[in-house]
Amino acid sequence: MIDADIIVGLEVHCQLDTKSKLFCGCSTDYRDDGPNTHVCPVCLGLPGTMPALNRRAIEYAMRVAKALNCTVIPESEFSRKNYFYPDLDKAYQITQYDKPLAEGGYVEIEGDDGKERKIPLTRIHVEEDPGRLVHMGNAERGRYSLVDYNRAGIPLIEIVSEPEMRSPKEARKFLNKLRATLEYLGVFDSEKEGSLRVDANISLRGSERVEIKNITSYKGVEKGLTFEVTRQKNLIRRGLTVERETRHYLEARGITQSARSKELENDYRYFPEPDLRPLRVQSWVKDIVLPELPDARRERFVAQYSCSLNHARTLTGELKMANFFEAVVADDYKGICSLAATWIADTLAGELNYRDMGIDAVDPQQFGGLLVLLKSGTITDKSGIEVLRVMLDEQLKGETVEAPETIVARLNLAKTAGDDGALLAAVKEVITGNPKAVEDYRAGKNGALNFLVGQTMKKTRGRADPGELNRIMVAALRDAEQ
């Protein structure tokens, strides 16, 4: 089965990073506080309260609409989505139904075929987040559940794509691009827990569509969809049919599970929210000044810093990484910018990921200092990684991060020069200590030289330039033969 047979559409819900909630003045900064501390009569849905629209949230959503080339509808309106659930304080969610804020538009991604592709959008609308249930015990057998309404009323933007993605990987790319765009627009903070929720529709051509609900991570989208592709392909292979259904994604296990059918029977009885006036905001569009967006910045990185397209894509794929790169190369970019691109996009990104650290923990000036040491040939790449690890570990432990030069001096990591007696001595020691390998080398076995070089590297703790060491080793072996 080729990938063209996979059809994926996404509904992405992102919390808009406003200071106050969508319909009341409560602060959205609830994450470090106790339950039900960021609530008022309005977001608790107390009888008699009414929603008063936070226009900043609408303005944020319109920035997104403009950036994604959507058409803002002349008159949109809020509707009530009625259903019972303990986390839903009013027993209806104020959302947008048949008159959304904006329609159309697209997100451009690099398709699996390597070509840029526009994934069309259906619509963008604004709605309120419900509260949150905390199950004491597990959901099935817990003794009771508690409700936290801190989240109730946080503004959400829902972005609905057409079913135009062809693989789980494309879905991941779509999501990454969307995240980057929203971050560049200053309306979204992807690092806040629970700030993103995705529902994914997936079908194999000719089969029924399955909806995966409530994926809460970027990786989860790709994982959940990949699981579904395998599951559905297996069903078809066994001659079974894929049923049209809603499934839940279980983040911890990376699998999807059929939702109880009862949940599908909801009739939401949408009708226009009588407590809010229709939104006539189309005229705002022209006044919205967009910042530089990921695509433009990527092209600028290629042009201005001679980054490779791939590096530029990685660097600009996250706002903070792009900003970090520009901060590092700010002083003397001509000197270190190609090094910086590689070291940030590849090395640093990997080391941060391993430590679960954010890039804002790294001081761009110190990092730039490390690059200067690499550029000048003071240390080898291998030592560079060691210095970087020390810096990151110090940061992680909350210690004062030493300057790269200090670490190099303290750990004696400066590159060993070729005429350095110490290097020659180490080479001789290795030759003496590994007669079998020397013999193998003379017998023409290829791996033997690499082994001897590796042993020397170990002795010098990576300070030697690999090319130079290779040359010295070959010469020393020749000398030893005579």
Partner: protein, 434 residues
Amino acid sequence: MAVHTIRFEPDDRYNAFLNVCANPIHGEGKLAGIAIAVKDNISTQGIETTCASKILKGYVPPYDAHAVGLIKNAGAAIAGKTNMDEFGMGTSTENSAFGPTLNPCDTGRVPGGSSGGSAAAVAAGMVRMALGTDTGGSIRCPAAFCGIVGLKPTYGRVSRYGLIAYANSLETIGPMAKNVADVSLLMSVIAGHDRRDSTSYDRPYSHTPSAKIDGLRIGIPKEYFGAGVDHEVAAVVKRAIGRLEELGAKTVPCSIPSMEYALAAYYVICTSEASSNLARFDGVRYGPAADTKKSWHAAYQDVRKQGFGPEVRRRIMLGTFALSSGYYGKYYAKAQVARENVRKDFARLFTDVDVICGPTMPTIAFRLGEKSDPLSMYLSDILTVPVNLGGIPAISVPCGKVQGMPVGLQIMGRPFEDERVVDVAYAYEQAVKS
């Protein structure tokens, strides 16, 4: 501001109050020291607010409705919370979970509804003024039945913030009192913009009633004197309109053809909105608590089955049905068309006339238990609901008696011309007084 206390110990033999504040405090201002009764669907900080429903028994709002805050700031003392049809659903105050209110003019009869407690408290002289709410006639009907004055303001002129919603797009808070001047005074305090109510307008009311109605053009719609309207009531109201003509007004016969569908449209819209508004009463946050040993949906069912009275349950079911997928277009969407037609009829009429007059209610107050069939009760709203569908102001002023019971003259005006309907009522009131 100086804080004073008054004693308030009414002889409430009519069950007008659900909750009396014996020693209410008050400050200074336009309403200094005036005891004002507040309908029990208007939130009062620290005072139990139940909408006359068991499902809200014990609920004490942590905040004041905007209108309540305004009357307190003007020096009023909150005398207590008045009885009503549960959540405003009714025309007689018999649908209260805490027993009916009796009409002070004849205790064998209903006071009208749903603001029956407020009307009875004023009519019996327990308070000088009261706040009511009007969704389909709930201020004007009890005002007519109890022989007092009640104003249903233009939609959006008084903030609904804190009014426990029954049908958001139709209802409003309004003043009730024995005379037009007091209604006008109370209106001047509660009207104005409130940013917490997105449907409120910045149209404050600062008006002193004037009895001058020279040259006023009054529309007399034939539907207000047609089938279903008691002919004795019609005769009394016609005489009252004759009085206005003597004062210099001109009458113009007219018609509101959209009234044919107004009542049906009204009941679709109000029940639809109610089915959504009342869904939040689930026993999780306030009122009698849900049984946590049961699953949440089973607990919700228990709470709602036990908490709501039969009329409320009926309307929730009707509204749930009307909004259901497959029926929305048939009912809710059609009702909106009918509503638009009512608006258009009013707009057209108001190019030719300044106000429209007719009876407030088609009959005098019914006997307790007389309207046991819900449909016959609904039909009695026929003359009041067009005003709510149109969002226009209307006042009911006593204009005589039939079988010893008061009859109300209803005066309807253009949107935001609350002052004019007040003036016409005032002119009539002053003319019959002298």
